[in-house]
Every structure is written in structure tokens, then in C-alpha cells.
Symmetry: C2
Subunit: 317 residues, 2 copies
């Protein structure tokens, strides 16, 4: 198929997959699991009755459970698709109901804290394999998901040291069938890498949007009108789910503060270049940053179309 | 027409329009001027012989002049489409060749410095009306332009105090016919507004891309692979033309340093929230930033499609 998902599997990879939390990621997983035949049965649960009703309406799951505890019963794969800060409570709730041998995973943007929490609460009879699909949009909720969200994106697995290979391999197969490329690393390294490729960009974006809103000499209307000068790019990720991102920063404090420290040092140097009128230094920095975008486009992680393809229909007219 | 440019004018607005510098903006102006019949004759010039050859090849102008001095002869509208740092030299070159009554404008991202330079070098017989179309892509050069670049974008005119109304009105007509909305303000206010909606975003983007490239514990390959977590958004504007942006920071030093100071203060407060685990403070900031994106989309300055429309072809599959 042209969209990179390929044909459905002839036999499902898992018997019963429980998805706990049906937002952007959970609903995308439900969609791709159904389309690719990744599970004989997809069970969905969500803390919100409104979301459960929407899931039923959209036909995203074979079964909808009224609670996480109920959802995980008999599941051979459980994926928590809740904000990182909700993992602790969900883990405690599901622990007594998990089937022996089940794989328990998640999709959170922080892995050290999640691994620690799951290890603390879950029985030794299950295999804990935390995961993070590096994919998403700024939208939230069950209607925002789509089956191809993970195609050609990376999914990072962070099994604990000394984990069994088999469940890790099975979860990798699941994500591969969902269209993703799988990489395995420690939770600690994940948290450092993502602090620069995801957490700091969100922090900076939220911050600049806040700064713009607070300037007295520039009106909100002016910020909006003239946002095409670059500012609007930042507002996209600053429109991401506030609960999810609050939890990321509360749970990856150390790595984020370290990376933020480096960013601030560099910014201070750049500030000095501007103050001193150091054109050569500015030009040098502004030139070297082009290469990394070329790399990202070459690796298929970004569209090559100018302006993110916003002008896709205009060019050559 | 569906692309927002509308039908060509029945009579050209200007007799002879000289475009000095044929990059992304200059070539887009040439294209829209031709398509909309904004000029009886379009004269192009560029300091680079290679660019002049490309302009001829692309058929962007009626005449190609070997020098800026030659290009402006007899022109009733002259638009400098060169980096801000090149305006001084070009102004000196064209000054003796300008026709009395000509309107001289530009498209630079800084207006105070440009207005001062033009006022210093140009004869009193011409009308100086600096302009800034807030539009562009991260690409450069004559092949990167397109006729609809300015459609529904804002073009800011910053005439000097006490300027004649007529030339300002004529230039406003030109930009309106090119598809833009026109706003008039002082050069000083422009430079402050753009410092937050354009200059600071570029500065921050260049800086974070530099920080990522310099981390020892995270490889370049990891930064590229996992850039879909947010980082890749920043690489777009950090891939913009280095000469243009060096000149912006050298020529809007005061406003940029002021705005950067505000940004840094806010970032320090945010850093403290993370350090102190202030979930409520984080949530509050992350919530208020959504409204501004909604405003930008509502005003037609941004696509409503999630992820900038990168998944435009995927959704609902």
C-alpha cells in the first residue's frame, strides 16, 4: 500500500491487546492494530466516560472496558497510553489483574520514571518493556489519531537491565508491524536524547509564546498578524497537551535542566555576539545549522517541501 | 482564481519597476508583478552573474540590467530585495541614477536601519517608503520564489514621519494587488514587533540547533532520528539564509536584545518551576499558549491541519 503500512498480517501477533487511555496515541494504536491485524481482540479503556463513548462511536476497539483493571484481564499485551504522571495510579490499579506472562508497556515521553514506577508496582510474573514512539501531532483525543501516525517514525524500547529477550522482541515486532523503526536503549539514555530532541524544544516553544503574550508594547493582534515571520512555527508544539507536557517536565527534571543549561550557555554566547556586532560569529553559527536539517530530510523524518509544505499547492503557479 | 491572486489588472500600476536582488522575495515579486500586470516593464538586477543568468533562464523579467545603477534608470518604482546589510552600498550606487519622483522601497526584515540608510544616501527628489512583507520560506534564490508567496500575508510599510501620502498609497496598492494585506507603522515599532514575531524565533531556533549539534552524550544520528519529537520544527527556520539573518541581528540589535532579555527572564522562571516540581505553574503556562495558535489559525496566518499538514495525505485512512 502506498501509505507505508503494508498488508494486514495473516495471523495476529497478540491474542488480546489492552490499550489503557485512548487519546492521540492510544487511538492511533487501536486503528493500526485493527487495520494490520496485530491483535485478535483490542480492548480499550479510558478514565473518561466521554472518551469511552467516543471510542464506541468511532468503532476503535472490539471491547470497551469500564476500568483499567477490567481491561487488562487476560491480555497478553497491555499498553498504557496515559500521561506519564498517571502511570503510577494505573500500575497500582492493574497490578492484581495482570495475566502471568503478559507484556506491559507504555508510550510515555519519559522512560526512567516510568520504568521505576512499573517495576515498583507490577508483579514479577509480567514482562515490563517501556516504549516511546517518537510521533504525534499537536492534537489530542481519540478523534485525532490515525493509523499511519507511526509510519517511518522511531519507537524506542527501554527494557530494564537483564530483561528477557523474548518479550522485547515481540513488542519490537508489534511496533515494526505498525510501521515504526525500533531502537533499543537504556531508559537513562533515552531521557537524555529526548531532552534535546523533544523536551527542550517544547519548553522553548511554550516559553516564547508566553513571552510574546506578555509584552506590553506589542499587542496580541500584532503577534498574530505578523506570526508568519517565524513565530507561528513555535505555536504548533506549544499547542500540545498541557497535562502530558507538565508530566514530562516533572518526570525528566534532571536531563531537562542539564540540557536547558547548555542551551542557556549557548544563548548567552549568541547574545554577546549580537551585542558586539560579531557578524562573522553569527554567520558561522547560522551556516552550520543547515546541515542538520538536510540530514533530517534525508533520513525521512521531515518533508523536503519548503515551509513544511504549507505552500504545497502554490508552488510553480 | 482559486489561489487568491485574482485577475490581472487592466492597466499596470507602474511603468517601470526595478527589482534589485533576485532571491526568494525578489523573484516572487517579479513573478507576481508579471502575472498581475503590476508593471509595464520589469527590470531585474542582481550582483551575482550566476543569478542574472538564472533569472534570464526562468524568464522572470522583461529586462536584466548588469548593475543596480543601470536598473533604476527611468524606474518609477525601485524595490531593493537585498540583505539589510547590503542596502547601504546599493543606496550609494543608485542615488545618482534615480529618476525624480521615483518611489524607493525595500523588503528587509529591519526597518529603522534601512530608513536611516536610505534617507542618508538618496536624493530628496525621491519618495522613500520602506516595506517588509512578512512572508517567506526557508529556501533562497531565484528558483525558490513563487507568485502566491504574499497572498494573505501582511506587508508593513514604514514611511518616514511627514512623508507624502501619495507614494505610500501607491506602494500600498502594489502590495495589495500582489495579494498582501497592508499595515502602516513607524520603523521603530516595526522593529520591536518583528523582534518577537520573527527575529527572536530565528535566534532561538539557530541556538537550539547549535546546542544539539554540540552535545557530546547525544550523537548527531540520534538527534536526526528522534527529531520528530519537536526538534525538527526548529530546524526549518534555522535553515534560513545566513547572510540575511546575520544582517537582521546586526541591524536590530537593540530591540532583539530587549526581547531576548524578556525571553530569558521567563525561561529562568520556567526553569525554577521545573526544579521545584511546580506542576500547577507549568500546567497554567502550557494551557494559555494554546489560545494564541487558535488566533493565528483563525486569522488565516497558519494552516489548521495538524502537524502543519505533514500528514495531510494520511488522515482518515
Amino acid at each position: 500500500m502506498v501509505d507505508g503500512l503494508g498488508a494486514p498480517l495473516t495471523a495476529p501477533l497478540f491474542d488480546r491487546v489492552a490499550l489503557i487511555g485512548i487519546g492521540l496515541i492510544g487511538s492511533s494504536l487501536a486503528r493500526v492494530a485493527k487495520r494490520k491485524n496485530l491483535a485478535r481482540t483490542i480492548v480499550a479503556s479510558d478514565a473518561s466516560a466521554e472518551v469511552r463513548a467516543r471510542v464506541a462511536e468511532l468503532g476503535l476497539a472490539d471491547e470497551i472496558a469500564g476500568s483499567a483493571a477490567r481491561a487488562v484481564e487476560g491480555a497478553d499485551l497491555v499498553i498504557l497510553c496515559v500521561p506519564v504522571g498517571a502511570v503510577d495510579a494505573v500500575a497500582q490499579e492493574i497490578a492484581p489483574h495482570l495475566a502471568p506472562g503478559a507484556i506491559v508497556s507504555d508510550v510515555g515521553s519519559v522512560k526512567g520514571a516510568v520504568l521505576a514506577t512499573l517495576t515498583k508496582h507490577l508483579p514479577k510474573t509480567v514482562a515490563i518493556v517501556p516504549a516511546h514512539p517518537v510521533a504525534g501531532t499537536e492534537e489530542s483525543g481519540p478523534a485525532a489519531g490515525f493509523a499511519t501516525l507511526f509510519v517511518n517514525r522511531w519507537c524506542i524500547l527501554t527494557p530494564p537491565e537483564g530483561a528477557d529477550e523474548k518479550p522485547v522482541k515481540r513488542l519490537a515486532e508489534f511496533w515494526t508491524a505498525a510501521g515504526a523503526n525500533v531502537e533499543i536503549m537504556t531508559a537513562q539514555h533515552h531521557d537524555l536524547v529526548l531532552s534535546i530532541t523533544s523536551h527542550l524544544p517544547h519548553l522553548i516553544a511554550y516559553n516564547i509564546v508566553g513571552t510574546a503574550a506578555d509584552l506590553e508594547a506589542v499587542t496580541q493582534s500584532e503577534v498574530i498578524k505578523f506570526s508568519a515571520g517565524g513565530f507561528r512555527d513555535f505555536t504548533r508544539i506549544a499547542a500540545s497537551d498541557p497535562t502530558m507536557w507538565r508530566d514530562v517536565f516533572l518526570n525528566n527534571k534532571e536531563a531537562v535542566l542539564e540540557t536547558l543549561g547548555r542551551f542557556t550557555e549557548d544563548l548567552t554566547a549568541l547574545q554577546r555576539m549580537i551585542r558586539n556586532g560579531d557578524g562573522e560569529g553569527l554567520f558561522k553559527l547560522f551556516t552550520r545549522t543547515r546541515a542538520i536539517r538536510r540530514g533530517i530530510i534525508a533520513e525521512g523524518q521531515e518533508t523536503a517541501a519548503p515551509d513544511f509544505g504549507r505552500h504545497r499547492d502554490d508552488k510553480d503557479q
